[in-house]
């Protein structure tokens, strides 16, 4: 079958059918829309035709751009993008047509939604969607966006672009939305336990909340304090419920870094309260993970707890008398001997850098 006929067939599918999903398939179909496979509103693009059709579409696209044939450019770019979501020039051309009024922005929200089922990791594709939402803010519907993000994350977890898209939406939320989102997301973090981006997302919501302008500063401060102390407890619970997850330990570091940086905003009696935060964290580590009598802790957890302990030491250094680095050093060395794991030698380097005043803490 020649490329022109394939193009006309694909154009027909786009204009008459309501596509909900697309993917590459190994073999050509022989139904109404051959060589494409079309089942229950899902489009299958057979591998063997891809080189031929993409070569044809590129030539066609170049010609159409010269002639400024907007109607045909609309179809041609859709065909290109269904097959190759990274074809940035085609996305650009569609932005031009949206600006000119030839394409409705709503249409491309549907198109990007469809293309994401095949290309969930295409940064150009995600940006096209963001560009539309930035330029036409009334089109932002959180629920729609969240569904699309969830679908993309399900297709490819730890999807960097989809998480960034979710963070982008936070810019448009008010305080109530943000608090709601924090709580809702805490409730479903178990689905993303090993996805560090999900944890980072929680921190960004907290960040936005802390700097949110408020008319009654004192009441707001209390509200945030309450949220934060619940959140700290929540994270501890996840550590216990999902043992051995590096991501939660990393989040402990991010969260404590955040608390230290914002202590003046977060606490009323800042020095006292930050000391109490520190004491509680250290006590938790010593009791749960770095305790010889507690044989339940896994080796990996001991390692992660030692890392977090050093992290807290460094952050707390400015606040009180110098933490006891020498004891921690012995703890790390004991761990290394016991586990035969030398991979955290760098921690000893960091400690000696601190002890030699090589770094500013």
């Amino acid at each position: 079958m020649d490329a022109e006929t394939i193009y006309i067939t694909l154009k027909k599918i786009i204009t008459t059918e309501n596509l909900i999903e697309e993917s590459f398939v190994p073999k050509e179909g022989d139904g109404t829309y051959k060589p494409f496979v079309f089942i229950e509103n899902c489009l299958g693009i057979p591998f063997p035709i891809v080189p031929k059709i993409l070569e044809f579409l590129k030539k066609k696209f170049v010609e159409l751009r010269k002639k400024k044939n907007y109607e045909e450019i609309d179809y041609c770019t859709q065909c290109i993008l269904l097959i190759n979501g990274e074809y940035i020039t085609a996305w650009n051309e569609r932005k031009k047509l949206i600006k000119l009024g030839y394409i409705k922005p709503e249409y491309d929200l549907s198109l990007t939604k469809l293309c994401l089922t095949k290309h969930p990791k295409s940064s150009h594709l995600w940006y096209h969607r963001q560009w539309i939402l930035k330029n036409y803010p009334p089109l932002i519907n959180y629920n729609n966006e969240f569904i699309i993000i969830d679908n993309a994350v399900n297709r490819y977890s730890t999807n960097y672009f989809s998480w960034n898209h979710r963070i982008f939406l936070l810019d448009y939320m008010d305080k109530e939305n943000l608090i709601e989102e924090l709580k809702a997301f805490q409730n479903k973090i178990y689905k993303h336990i090993s996805d560090h981006a999900g944890w980072n997302y929680l921190l960004i919501i907290l960040k936005k909340l802390v700097i949110y302008p408020s008319s009654n500063k004192n009441t707001y401060k209390k509200e945030i304090q309450q949220l934060l102390s619940e959140h700290i407890e929540f994270v501890k619970k996840q550590l216990m419920d999902f043992p051995g997850h590096e991501t939660i330990w990393y989040y402990q570091r991010l969260l404590s870094g955040f608390i230290y940086q914002n202590k003046e905003i977060l606490y009323e009696h800042c020095e006292k309260e930050i000391q109490s935060f520190y004491d509680k964290e250290i006590e938790f580590l010593n009791k749960t993970y770095l305790n010889e009598n507690n044989s339940n802790a896994m080796i990996i957890e001991e390692k992660l707890a030692l890392q977090y302990k050093l992290w807290l030491f460094i952050h707390h250094h400015k606040n009180t008398a110098k933490p006891n680095y020498s004891t921690l050093k012995t703890e790390i060395e004991n761990y290394q001997m016991m586990s035969d794991d030398k991979s955290i030698n760098y921690l000893l380097d960091i400690i000696s850098n601190i002890q030699n005043f090589k770094i500013n803490v």
């Binding site: 190759n84 960097y160 990393y250 991010l254 380097d349």
Partner: protein, 328 residues
């Protein structure tokens, strides 16, 4: 540092096979991958030619032809598209300049137009858009600064502002993300640390903290991942390793184990490297397999500059200070 020897490892580097693979990349114009990667052809050329240089056989490519093709991708606005008849973007403009530098044919391009294109993309907050449509990403900061440095025209942009923006993208873990608030990611860290090295502002980085995070990327099998709890991947041997090298903490990972992992990702039949053992090879992972080995001091390879990801010899030709850092 002890010298790395070929005999230390159960598998050796299949240099001949890789060169054959790289040489034949352009002969597959009827294949799926060739057309799916058309929009980023200039990146592909840069990956291929740099790998060939590090393997010490740049002559497998015709530099004259290559230059001609690169120049045919330059647009009116001064930027380069990913292929002929594609819109300009910083991602491809950098690759174009890198290839021209490697081919020593930079004199054939209208440099002022390139500088004009790049500098126009800087935003008031110091960040860079990838193209006229405004997507912002620290990758683009790296592209712009690397490009301008190679053209000796850093004066065309506001460098302190550019640094300020990169600083905003630094996270509590010492790493960097693609934009403010985005999660730390090894690829983005390379871009940010590289950009800061280019403008001589590594003071912005907390080397111990960042090095700590980067060192944690090594998994028990020796490979490196790009973010916590993700799988190892050969391309991260580059992103993580070059960053560690720039901040002088390369000794925080186990070199022998990493070399072993990289070598296990070669396809001994077809040549080329894949992300993980047994997967399909591609030119992207082939470059980063080879450059990772070079940075680790594997024998019989040319030196790679960790900041520019280009052969040290090409950077030296530009009279730019090359920091081979602590290559072994």
């Amino acid at each position: 540092m002890s010298e790395i020897k070929v005999e230390q490892f159960p598998v050796k580097l299949e240099t001949e096979k890789h060169l054959k693979y790289l040489k034949e990349l352009n002969n597959h114009q009827d294949e799926l991958e060739y057309w799916l990667t058309e929009a980023l052809r200039l990146n592909g050329i840069y990956w291929g030619v740099t790998a060939a240089c590090i393997l010490k056989h740049p002559e497998i490519y015709d530099f004259k032809e290559m230059t001609k093709f690169i120049l045919s991708c330059q647009n009116e606005d001064g930027g380069f598209g990913g292929c002929t008849d594609h819109d300009s973007h910083l991602l491809y403009t950098l690759s174009a300049i890198q290839v021209l530098v490697i081919c020593d044919t930079l004199s054939e391009v209208d440099k002022d137009k390139v500088v004009e294109y790049v500098s126009k993309l800087q935003n008031p907050d110091g960040s860079f858009s990838g193209d006229e449509w405004g997507e912002v990403d620290t990758r683009f900061s790296y592209c712009a600064l690397s490009c301008l440095k190679m053209l000796h025209r850093l004066d065309a942009v506001d460098v302190p502002k550019a640094v300020e923006y990169i600083k905003k993208c630094m996270n509590f873990d010492g790493g960097f993300g693609s934009i403010e608030s985005a999660e730390s990611h090894s690829g983005q860290i390379f871009c940010c640390v590289g950009a800061l090295a280019i403008v001589d502002r590594l003071d912005v980085v907390d080397a111990d903290k960042l090095g700590w995070w980067l060192a944690e990327r090594q998994l028990p099998n020796g490979g490196l991942n790009g973010r916590p709890e993700k799988l190892e991947d050969v391309c991260y041997s580059w992103w993580v390793l070059s960053s560690l090298s720039i901040i002088d903490r390369i000794h925080w990972i186990n070199k022998e184990k990493l070399i072993n992992f990289i070598l296990s990702c070669q396809d001994a039949d077809t040549g080329g490297f894949s992300d993980r053992p047994g997967d399909m090879v591609d030119v992207f992972h082939t470059l980063f397999g080879v450059t990772g080995l070079s940075l680790l001091g594997y024998p019989n390879l040319d030196k790679i500059d960790p900041v520019y990801c280009m052969p040290v010899s090409a950077i030296e030709r530009l009279n730019i200070k090359t920091r081979t850092y602590n290559q072994i």
